[in-house]
C-alpha cells in the first residue's frame, strides 16, 4: 500500500486490527510523507522520529497480543502548547525555545495509555495568540490550498498537518477559535469541546477561563474517536468537569430527523464574504434535506459585543499567566545585566514576540488600578449576557450553525501589522469560548479553490449533537474528502 498516509483513524484501525499493516509500517509511511511535504508547508516544530518508531514497535506488540484500542498504533501530531515529557515544548516562542517538560499533559498520558504514536509537535502562533500562525517565533506555516495564504491559527500547524496527511490526526487548543478557524481554512474537521470536558493539565496557559484542547481530524467519526480518549474528569485540573463521558461514536447517525437548528442572523452580516455566505446557506439547506428543522430567524443580539469582551478577558488572563516567564526557573534568560528587575524586563523584551507583548500590555492595562471595573469587570458582566443569550437560544434549538470565519484564508502578511483586522478573523468563533460551549468546524465548500468552514455550536456538554450533525452532513457531501494540491 503506497498511500497509507491518506488513511483515516477508523481505516487505519481496521487494517491494524486485521494485521494487514503494522504500526511501524504506518509510522514510516507517515514520516516519509512528512519529509516530502514539510519543506512546502512548514507545519512542524519538532519531529521525534526515534521516539515515534519506538512507540510504534510497542503498539505492534500490544496488537500482537490482542490488546488494540481505537487509537493504538496510529500516528498523531501535537500542537506545541501541550507538555510532552522529554520532548521540547516551545509554544513557538523564543522564551520556551529550550524547555523540556518533566511531565506529560493529561491528554498526552491518555494518548500514551492508548498506545498512540506521537510523531512530534506542530507550529502555532506564539503562546496560541493569533489567527494566522504568522506569530510563531520560528517560521511561517503555509496553507496547503494556496502556499501564499495563511493556514489560520493559532493551531495552524496541526490543521495543515492533517490536511496534508502528515499525521492521521492532531491535537490543537482553542481559546477564541484556534482549532475551528484553522480547521475551516484548511478544510479539515476541528472540535472545541465544552470548557471543562478535556483536562487542561499540562496545557501551557494562555487564558485559563477560555482555553480548551480538542481534536483536528479528517472526518467527524475520527473526531468522536479522539474525543472518547481525551475527554473526562482530571483531579489535576480544578476546572475539569466531574461528569461521565459518553461513547461519542454512538452519536454518529446519518439523518437529522426532529433536530432543531437555529441560524443566528448576526453571524451573517458585516464583512462576510459573499461566497462564504452562499456556501454556508447551501450547507444549511443540505441539513434541512437531511431532516433538520431550520429556523433562519434565530437571533443573538449581543454577538456584536463579544469581540470587545474577548479582547479584554483573554489578554487580562494572559498577562497574569505570562508573568511566570521571569528567566529564573526555565526558559530563555537574559543574563547580561547586573540588576534583577532589568534581567526580568530584558528576558521578556527579547523572549516574547510582538503580539504576546501587545496582549500583556492590553491585559495589564485592563487589570490596573482605576481601570479594572471599567474593563475587566465590565467584560465579565457582558460575558454573563452572552452566556444567558445562548442558554435562551438552546431552549428553542438543539444546535446553532454559522460560518467558522467571515472570509476564506487571507494572504500571508496581509493582516500581520493590523491587530484589529486580525482579531476580526475570529469574530464567528470567540463568542463560543466566552460562553464555554462546544463547537465543531467541518468542511463546507470552496471559493476559487480556497476552503470554507461551517461551525456547528452545541449546548454545554452536548458534543454528541454537534458530532451527529457533522457526521450526517459529511455523509451527504464530499468536501471533507478533497485533498489540497500538494
Amino acid at each position: 500500500m503506497n498511500d497509507l498516509h491518506q488513511l483515516t483513524i477508523s481505516q487505519a484501525h481496521q487494517l491494524l486490527k486485521e494485521k494487514r499493516i503494522s504500526s511501524v509500517e504506518l509510522t514510516k509511511a507517515i514520516l516519509a510523507r512528512l519529509t516530502k511535504v514539510e519543506d512546502k508547508v512548514h507545519a512542524c516544530v519538532t519531529i521525534s522520529e526515534d521516539a515515534a518508531l519506538e512507540q510504534a514497535k510497542n503498539a505492534d506488540k500490544a496488537i500482537g497480543s490482542g490488546k488494540i484500542k481505537p487509537l493504538t498504533g496510529i500516528p498523531a501530531l501535537i500542537k506545541d502548547v501541550m507538555c510532552t515529557k522529554g520532548i521540547k515544548t516551545t509554544c513557538s516562542s523564543k522564551i520556551l525555545g529550550n524547555f523540556i517538560p518533566p511531565y506529560d499533559a493529561t491528554v498526552i498520558e491518555k494518548l500514551k495509555a492508548s498506545k498512540a504514536v506521537i510523531l512530534g509537535k506542530t507550529n502555532m502562533d506564539e503562546f496560541a495568540m493569533g489567527s494566522s500562525t504568522e506569530n510563531s517565533a520560528f517560521f511561517t506555516t503555509r496553507n496547503p490550498w494556496d502556499l501564499d495564504r495563511v493556514p489560520g491559527g493559532s493551531s495552524g500547524g496541526s490543521a495543515v498537518a492533517v490536511a496534508t496527511d502528515e499525521a492521521i490526526y492532531a491535537l490543537g487548543s482553542d481559546t477564541g477559535g484556534s482549532i475551528r478557524q484553522p480547521a475551516g481554512f484548511c478544510s479539515v474537521v476541528g472540535l472545541k469541546p465544552t470548557y471543562g470536558r478535556v483536562s487542561r493539565f499540562g496545557l501551557v496557559a494562555f487564558a485559563s477561563s477560555l482555553d480548551q484542547i480538542g481534536p483536528i481530524t479528517k472526518n467527524a467519526a475520527d473526531c468522536a474517536l479522539v474525543l472518547n480518549v481525551i475527554a473526562g474528569h482530571d483531579p489535576r485540573d480544578s476546572t475539569s468537569a466531574p461528569y461521565p463521558v459518553p461513547d461519542y461514536t454512538k452519536a454518529l447517525i446519518p439523518d437529522l430527523k426532529n433536530l432543531r437548528i437555529g441560524i443566528p442572523k448576526e453571524y451573517f452580516v458585516e464583512g462576510i464574504q459573499k461566497e462564504v455566505r452562499e456556501s454556508i446557506e447551501a450547507a444549511i439547506k443540505k441539513l434541512e434535506e437531511l431532516g433538520a428543522k431550520i429556523d433562519w430567524d434565530a437571533s443573538l443580539p449581543h454577538t456584536k459585543y463579544a469581540l470587545a469582551a474577548y479582547y479584554i478577558l483573554a489578554p487580562s488572563e494572559a498577562s497574569a499567566n505570562l508573568a511566570r516567564y521571569d528567566g529564573v526557573k526555565y526558559g530563555f534568560s537574559y543574563q547580561d545585566t547586573s540588576n534583577m528587575w532589568e534581567a526580568m524586563e530584558k528576558t521578556k523584551q527579547f523572549g516574547f514576540g510582538a503580539e504576546v507583548k501587545r496582549r500583556i500590555m492590553l491585559g495589564t492595562y485592563a487589570l490596573s488600578a482605576g481601570y479594572y471595573d471599567a474593563y475587566y469587570l465590565k467584560a465579565q458582566k457582558v460575558r454573563t449576557l452572552i452566556r444567558r443569550e445562548f442558554d435562551q437560544a438552546f431552549e428553542k434549538y438543539d444546535a446553532l450553525v454559522t460560518p467558522t470565519s467571515p472570509t476564506v484564508p487571507f494572504k500571508l502578511g496581509e493582516k500581520v501589522d493590523d491587530p484589529i483586522q486580525m482579531y476580526l478573523s475570529d469574530v464567528c468563533t470567540l463568542p463560543i469560548n466566552i460562553a464555554g460551549l462546544p463547537a465543531i468546524a467541518v468542511p463546507a465548500g470552496f471559493a476559487d479553490g480556497l476552503p470554507i468552514g461551517m461551525q456547528i455550536i452545541g449546548k454545554p456538554f452536548d458534543e454528541e449533537t454537534i458530532l451527529h450533525i457533522a457526521f450526517a452532513y459529511e455523509q451527504a457531501t464530499d468536501w471533507h474528502r478533497r485533498k489540497p494540491p500538494i
Partner: protein
C-alpha cells in the same frame, strides 16, 4: 481613549516588560486603537448583572491534603537557566 507615551511606559513597568523606543510608539498607537474598540461595551447597562469568571458551575474544588511524590529534582533543575547545585541562581533581590 488616546494613550500617552508615559502611560505606555507605566503599563510596561507594571508588567516588568522591557520595550524599545520604537515599540513604545507602536504600542501607543495600536493600544489606543484597540481601546477605542472597547467603547462599544459602554452601550450596555450591566449595573445589576453578576460577573461570570468562567463558564461551568464548579466552586472551591479541593484535593485531599495528602503527601505525594514530587517530580524528580534533576528533571526540574535541568531546565534552570542558571543553577548552583540544586538551587536556582538569580540576581540579588535586595542590594
Amino acid at each position: 481613549m488616546k494613550l500617552s507615551r508615559e502611560e505606555v511606559k507605566h503599563i510596561a513597568l507594571l508588567a516588568r516588560l522591557g520595550l524599545s523606543e520604537a515599540e513604545i510608539e507602536k504600542f501607543r498607537i495600536q493600544l489606543s486603537d484597540i481601546l477605542e474598540q472597547f467603547e462599544i461595551l459602554k452601550q450596555l447597562d450591566t449595573t445589576d448583572l453578576p460577573p461570570t469568571a468562567q463558564s461551568i458551575a464548579l466552586q472551591n474544588v479541593l484535593r485531599p491534603d495528602e503527601a505525594r511524590a514530587s517530580y524528580p529534582v534533576k528533571d526540574i533543575m535541568d531546565n534552570a537557566p542558571q543553577r548552583d547545585g540544586n538551587c536556582f541562581k538569580t540576581r540579588a533581590v535586595l542590594e
